[in-house]
């Protein structure tokens, strides 16, 4: 192809405090072409799209529109070039109708001053929806629509602004197979009309079915830009992961697994979880991997009793649990949530207060809080987990991320937990503290506890876990252990259909 691209980014770099999100990335969009953007979580895909649509300002790099240099400093500038984005979080208003949503902020004026012309808005909305072959009453309120229909409204909203470049961030993540097919039909139609489309996807089948060009990002750098015919899914996975597919890591030696700690059989739930089977033995760290949105957190919440289940059974240390969080805690289960700041800690309270929180009933059977006893219990935990704090009375908010995480764990240790679920334990923690967290997990299982660990970083799962389950679309699609437990296998199971 020799024609000048419709839009081009050259040498884009973008840094955030502590990380280089994009490093000298170039990217081009051609009219009538679908450009797929793939890479692992955190590879820089979303950042690149945000630079393109003006949400982020690039530290370095240049933009070209039809070969002429231009600047994009804010969303308004991007809109001028016909760039429209459909984010994963929709920007729809639930109690406005379809037409009002499509024209939000660009309402057509009526004859009377100050009033809007609802009839014309509906007629225009109808026209735009027809362009994508979506036949629906534009007076229906958006909260009545399913996810797929809402996505159609988002697309219509973008097109009504004369989008020449459409950016979609994992558009099929929430769609069923049939809805996905419909979306593909629309994408094909837009392509024919000369729209340039860029599309972030984790599903390799889709990447090959729809992509005219594929760009792979890894660690903020462009690794390759290839045509689908020139590559294979396996080669693409290798590019995404960045290491030869067969590389393995040595896990620390652990004692042989003991008794069954957690056994989940045929679990299904209203959140979409279907037929989940998994088990964790004492002395084992088991990973739960998969893409964001594949259902990992839902599994954790269902096991803990935070969400109801519709079928199946959960046994903890051989006994059925009744599905309430109180029961789970009483029997020695602990959930260390993804967002420790809002869900795991009382940030303004002291380290000691946080540590004793889950064990109050055991520590103070009379119901009267005795500060000295709390401090003593806290000191024991602080020593055991080597939490770095000058005094147990220090507010948790002043501690580092790694130490905060330890406080959360300490809280459950104090409550005599023996089965731990960690949801993204290393999120927002620097590299040094990560190693500390891993030592902590190792210490827990050496003392006979069992751990289920959710992580988006395959490398962590491979390094830390004895076994791992991989999820996709709210199902467990595979179990990996020993030599099979590699990053490439996790990515392959998690992305292919």
């Amino acid at each position: 192809m020799t024609a000048v691209p419709l839009f081009e980014l050259r040498g884009i770099s973008k840094g955030f405090p502590g990380i280089k999100a994009l490093d000298d990335v170039s990217f081009e969009l051609r009219a009538g072409e679908v450009h797929m953007l793939v890479g692992e979580n955190g590879a820089g895909k979303s950042t690149l799209m945000k630079v393109l649509c003006g949400a982020y300002r690039a530290d370095r790099g240049s933009f070209f529109h039809n070969g002429k240099p231009v600047t994009i400093n804010d969303p308004a500038a991007a809109r001028k070039f016909g760039i429209a984005v459909i984010f994963q979080d929709f920007t729809l208003v639930p109690y406005l109708d379809i037409a009002q949503n499509i024209f939000l902020g660009r309402e057509l004026s009526g004859r009377l001053p100050g009033l809007i012309d609802r009839r014309r808005i509906h007629a225009e909305a109808k026209r735009v929806l027809e362009m994508i072959g979506f036949d629906i009453d534009t007076r229906i309120l958006v909260h009545r629509l399913g996810v797929a229909q809402q996505q159609m409204v988002e697309i219509a909203k973008a097109l009504s602004q004369d989008a020449r470049i459409l950016i979609m961030d994992e558009p099929t993540a929430a769609l069923s197979d049939r809805e996905t097919e419909r979306l593909f039909a629309i994408v094909t139609r837009l392509k024919k009309n000369g729209v340039a489309i860029t599309y972030i996807s984790h599903r390799l089948s889709e990447v090959f079915a729809m992509g005219d060009r594929i760009t792979v990002l890894r660690d903020g750098r462009k690794i390759a830009s290839v045509l689908p015919a020139e590559t294979t899914p396996d080669r693409l996975v290798t590019l995404m992961v960045g290491r030869p597919v067969d590389s393995t890591y040595t896990r620390p030696s652990r004692p042989a697994p003991g008794d069954m700690a957690l056994e989940v059989k045929n679990l299904s739930g209203p959140s979409g979880l279907a037929d989940i089977n998994l088990n964790v033995r004492a002395g084992e760290i088991v990973g739960l991997s998969g893409l964001v949105g594949s259902g990992r957190t839902e599994v954790a919440r269902a096991i803990f009793g935070a969400d109801p289940i519709s079928a199946g059974e959960i046994r903890l240390f051989g006994q059925l649990i009744d599905g309430s969080t109180e029961d789970s805690v009483r029997r020695g289960m602990a959930l260390i949530p993804e967002n420790r700041k809002t869900q795991g800690l009382a940030l303004a309270r002291s380290v000691a207060d946080n540590i004793v929180l889950a064990g109050l009933g055991r520590l103070f059977p009379s119901g009267i809080y005795i500060p000295a006893r709390a401090i003593k219990a806290a000191r024991a935990i602080i020593e055991k987990l080597r939490i770095t704090t000058p005094t147990p009375r220090r507010p948790v908010a002043t501690l580092s991320g790694g130490n905060q995480q330890k406080v959360v764990v300490g809280k459950w240790l104090n409550a005599d937990a023996r089965f731990f679920i960690f949801d993204e334990p290393t999120r927002g923690i620097d590299v040094g503290a990560k190693a500390e967290i891993f030592r902590l997990l190792d210490g827990l299982v050496h003392n006979g506890a069992a751990v289920l660990m959710i992580s988006s970083e395959q490398i962590e799962i491979v390094r830390i876990c004895d076994r791992a389950y991989v999820m996709r679309d709210k199902r467990i699609v595979g179990e990996l252990s020993r030599d099979d437990l590699t990053e490439a296998n996790i990515v392959r199971l998690g992305t292919q259909q």
Partner: protein, 316 residues
């Protein structure tokens, strides 16, 4: 599913029942128990007496749709009424007095809006503070006494009729139509739905959330100023405790009417029905000679029952 029937369903099942059922049950109960209830004179009476509440409940609906709240309405209403009375006594000009009352409403609305939108203080706290300020000012200005001696001509604003229809009912109808137009046929109204429903959508569309919030509370203040005129005319005096608790009735009417406190799910017609339901309840209890403190308890129960019925019908 047929799209048209889906739209109709939205209108008929999910929304009307709670408040409509409550209203029908209330009317039937009072109609059977007190002979004076179902007379044309009494019905006109209910509508007339509901006007002041409607003038508060309409903007309260808009405010609640933005996930806000205005607890200061009753106190500002009282203060505006006192300013009205004092102005008319000192200047002799009802027009000037009316403008003064509107100015009071406008200023308190602007004050609330700026604190909430610019300083980011939660509406509950902001308007609770304003309630105290307005209440204190009322007591300060009047020394706790009623302001009396207002010219009798003012009273005719409340008691007068046009073509046999009570003037307050006409004012209520105009206020309702005006708010309906504002909410459903202007950009401001469209964005109110988005304020509670998805503020991100507004930001992406390049619309100022702060400006919208301020205008919302100013609208509330102006309506309160207007209501102060009617209240003063009704009592033919101003009293430093006259409007206390009116915000409770207004919030109750909005809640009974099916407006949700989340996601920008508001329904103006429901508020009108809610106001009438509260009016019917108070009127009926008056006819049954129930004392007013017990009436407040009944309104509380009404809110819970109406929302319970709505909850039964809401989709899971």
């Amino acid at each position: 599913m047929n799209a048209r029937s889906l739209a109709l369903q939205t209108m008929s099942i999910a929304r009307v029942p709670g408040v409509a059922i409550v209203l029908v049950v209330l009317c039937a109960t009072f109609g059977l128990t007190s002979p004076g209830f179902a007379t044309p004179a009494n019905i006109a009476n209910i509508l007339t007496q509901s006007t002041i509440l409607l003038l508060l409940a309409l903007p309260m609906t808009v405010i609640i749709m933005t996930e806000g709240l205005d607890l200061s309405m009753g106190a500002v209403l009282t203060f505006a009424s006192i300013v009205f009375a004092v102005t008319v006594l000192t200047t002799g000009s009802p027009v000037l007095a009316f403008l003064a009352a509107l100015t009071v409403g406008f200023c308190f609305g602007l004050w609330n809006g700026v604190l909430i939108a610019v300083l980011d203080i939660p509406p509950f706290i902001t308007t609770l503070g304003t309630l105290g300020i307005a209440q204190g000012l009322s007591l300060l200005v009047t020394d706790g006494q009623s302001v009396v001696g207002i010219p009798h001509s003012i009273q005719s604003i409340y008691s007068g009729t046009v073509a046999g229809i009570p003037l307050p009912v006409i004012i209520a109808a105009l206020a309702y139509c005006g708010t309906h137009t504002l909410l459903y046929h202007t950009r401001f109204g469209t964005y109110v739905f988005a304020l509670g429903g998805n503020r991100e959508a507004l930001k992406v569309a390049g619309i100022s959330v702060r400006g919208l919030l301020i205008r919302t509370y100013v609208f509330g203040g102006l309506m309160v100023g207007f209501a102060a005129l009617l209240m003063t005319a009704r009592l033919n005096s101003a009293h430093p405790t006259a409007g206390i608790g009116m915000e409770f009735d207004a919030i109750a009417a909005v809640a009974v009417g099916g407006t949700s406190f989340e996601r920008g799910n508001g329904w103006l017609l429901g508020t009108l029905l809610g106001v009438i339901a509260v009016g019917v309840l108070r009127n009926g209890l008056n006819l049954l000679a129930v004392q007013s403190s017990a009436q407040v308890a009944c309104i509380g129960a009404l809110v819970i029952i109406a929302l319970f019925i709505d909850g039964l019908r809401a989709e899971p």
